[in-house]
């Protein structure tokens, strides 16, 4: 690949631009509140773990992480399992209304969460799922399922048609072909799609906050509530923020080799 002059400098500056605000958050999370407010220090002079200790020992804090992970994982499983057959259908067959259906799905990926906040609240209260991880997991399907279909469709189309035909000639039934042959072939695509479902469900807050009150409250919502209640506890806020970055960073590390093609949604 051919690059442009001064690329190291540009890349370096851009990475610094990306990392500096994150560094500042990490920096603050290790400072005491008096140090944060009284002096401007580039690194913690009296480093402390008190904020982290508080989060890991106080149930109302750490339960937020568990709640968030719960609905994110649920959502990822639902999205991938319903999207896989659909992706295959869109990739291989032409059927009545296929293009309209695909566009309709895509348009849901683009629908603003703010529009759905209130109706979702009514809907999930009515069917008794309000304040459970299921409510948030199902609500997040509205943008994750279309995205998963979109990504997986690209990967399924990369599998030559002859493989299907050979398998059927060999006497594979459709479900057996799907699980034994197709799924292993697009394993990396499934990984990429799962990564995206995880990502968009993890970062979304508006719906997650609207659909939960006490027992399923996500960490992102707990951050805003506790901080405003106890004045501004900057150190604690920063520590909670740092802890929300970590799952994302871990997931990126696992998919780093697929990340570029993944962001192109399997269609370069």
């Amino acid at each position: 690949m051919h690059s442009i002059p001064g690329r190291r400098l540009i890349m370096g500056l851009f990475l610094i631009f990306l990392l500096l605000p994150i560094y500042w958050l990490v920096n603050m999370s290790f400072k005491t509140n008096s140090e944060i407010i009284s002096t401007m220090t580039l690194w913690p002079h009296t480093p402390t773990l008190q904020h982290y200790k508080r989060i890991f020992t106080d149930e109302s804090w750490y339960s937020g992480y568990i709640n968030s992970l719960e609905y994110v994982v649920l959502n990822t499983i639902i999205s991938i399992s319903v999207a896989l057959p659909a992706a295959y259908a869109f990739s291989r067959y032409r059927f009545l209304g296929d293009k309209h259906l695909f566009f309709w799905l895509l348009s849901n990926r683009m629908a603003p969460a703010a529009v759905y906040a209130l109706p979702f609240f009514n809907l999930y209260s009515a069917i008794g799922l309000f304040d459970t991880p299921w409510a948030v997991a199902l609500a997040h399907c509205i943008f994750n399922v279309p995205l998963a279909v979109w990504i997986l469709e690209g990967f399924v189309s990369g599998v030559p048609r002859e493989i299907d035909e050979t398998a059927f000639l060999d006497g594979y039934s459709f479900p057996r072909f799907f699980i034994k042959i197709l799924v292993p072939l697009i394993a990396s695509g499934i990984g990429v799609a799962a990564f995206f479902c995880f990502m968009f469900s993890w970062v979304e807050l508006l719906l997650a906050r609207t659909l939960t009150s006490v027992s399923a409250k996500p960490i992102a919502a707990i951050m805003t509530r506790t901080v405003s209640a106890s004045g501004m506890d900057w150190g604690l806020l920063a520590a909670a923020g740092v802890l929300t970055i970590i799952p994302g960073a871990l997931v990126i590390w696992f998919v780093r080799n697929y990340i570029a093609s993944g962001f192109a949604l399997g269609r370069v």
């Binding site: 690949m1 442009i4 067959y93 032409r94 109706p119």
Partner: protein, 324 residues
């Protein structure tokens, strides 16, 4: 790839259809229902017809004025961040290291902002920009620039835009990088033999190859910036005054703040309609781009002299028609 007609494929699509219909169509029906009614609380509703819609599109009323103002701000915001993020993303993608461990390191750091919960992105910049405890605000003020995003409109705008550039340029860069990676080395060798300039290589080889991913990038960035809510809400709360109140923020204010269901529902529908139209335009453009490239690839004579300027992108994977 020619697809066979098979109506049974609907059975494969059915689960997706049901899940999305449950979470999209059902709520949308309640929105349509509310948008025609007025309420005075206590769950008593009155028929209001298209009253809310008339008010919404009339700038002289309170609702219409707020909606159109926030819509204008939102469009301006989307255009500004597209104008910054797309070129910057291309430059960053072109600056990626070629091989070695630095590639993985750069990719991981680039992707990092994308996986931070949106309200934490807001929190990061809220802290970073504060003149008393944030590095950015402190440095700017120490340098003699009076910067305060809480009280100054322009500072608030700059902060929100820089935050979005920080948050999302990586997406554009990663997409472009994926496009660049798919260019075979032979293209560059041909360009080198012809003595093509750096700019010619970019224009004739790299840009056409990135076309497709750039379309996806522009679509995603436009849509997501058009419905931006959490990040500016955390940083500025829509202020100072209403200067950074975007459509979603206005909508949530009306729906969950004032619980004004009829107005909120009417606004939702119009908002959704705008997004649907823009989405459709993009979809058509993307689909046509795919078809055109296919035609172009097929009509291209095999023995065409390979000068750098005449190099046309020959898709490695044939674009599928219908789906972008």
């Amino acid at each position: 790839m020619d697809k066979t007609v098979n109506q049974k494929a609907w059975f494969l699509v059915l689960p997706v259809f049901l899940v999305v219909a449950f979470s999209a169509v059902l709520p949308l029906m309640t929105v349509v229902n509310y948008s025609m009614q007025d309420t005075f609380g206590n769950n008593q509703f009155f028929w209001n017809g298209v009253g809310w819609f008339k008010e919404l599109l009339d700038p002289s009323t309170d609702l219409g004025g707020r909606f159109l103002a926030s819509l204008g701000r939102n469009l301006f915001f989307s255009l500004v961040i597209l104008a910054i993020e797309v070129p910057l993303g291309i430059v960053v993608a072109l600056s990626m290291p070629r091989e070695g461990w630095t590639v993985a390191a750069c990719l991981v750091i680039l992707a990092l902002p994308l996986l931070i919960p949106w309200n934490v992105v807001g929190t990061i910049w809220q802290i970073f920009g504060r003149p008393d405890i944030g590095l950015l605000g402190y440095v700017l003020n120490a340098a003699g620039i009076d910067y305060n995003y809480v009280s100054n409109d322009i500072d608030a705008w700059v902060t929100v835009i820089v935050m979005d550039v920080w948050h999302w340029t990586s997406l554009v860069a990663l997409l472009c990088y994926a496009g660049l990676k798919s260019i075979p080395e032979a293209y560059y060798q041909a360009a080198q033999i012809d003595g093509a300039s750096r700019w010619a290589v970019f224009k004739a080889i790299q840009l056409p190859k990135m076309n497709r991913v750039l379309l996806i990038a522009v679509l995603l960035r436009f849509m997501d910036s058009f419905m931006i809510y959490t990040e500016p809400f955390v940083v500025t709360g829509g202020g100072p005054g209403n200067s950074t109140t975007f459509v979603s923020i206005e909508l949530v204010k009306i729906a969950l703040g004032q619980f004004d269901l009829g107005k909120a529902a009417a606004l939702s529908l119009v908002y959704n309609l705008i997004i649907l139209i823009v989405c459709w335009i993009f979809y058509t453009v993307m689909t046509n781009a795919g078809v055109e490239r296919k035609v172009q690839a097929e009509s291209e004579p095999a023995s065409e002299p390979k000068s750098a300027a005449a190099l046309k992108p020959v898709p490695v994977l044939k674009p599928k028609e219908g789906v972008a």
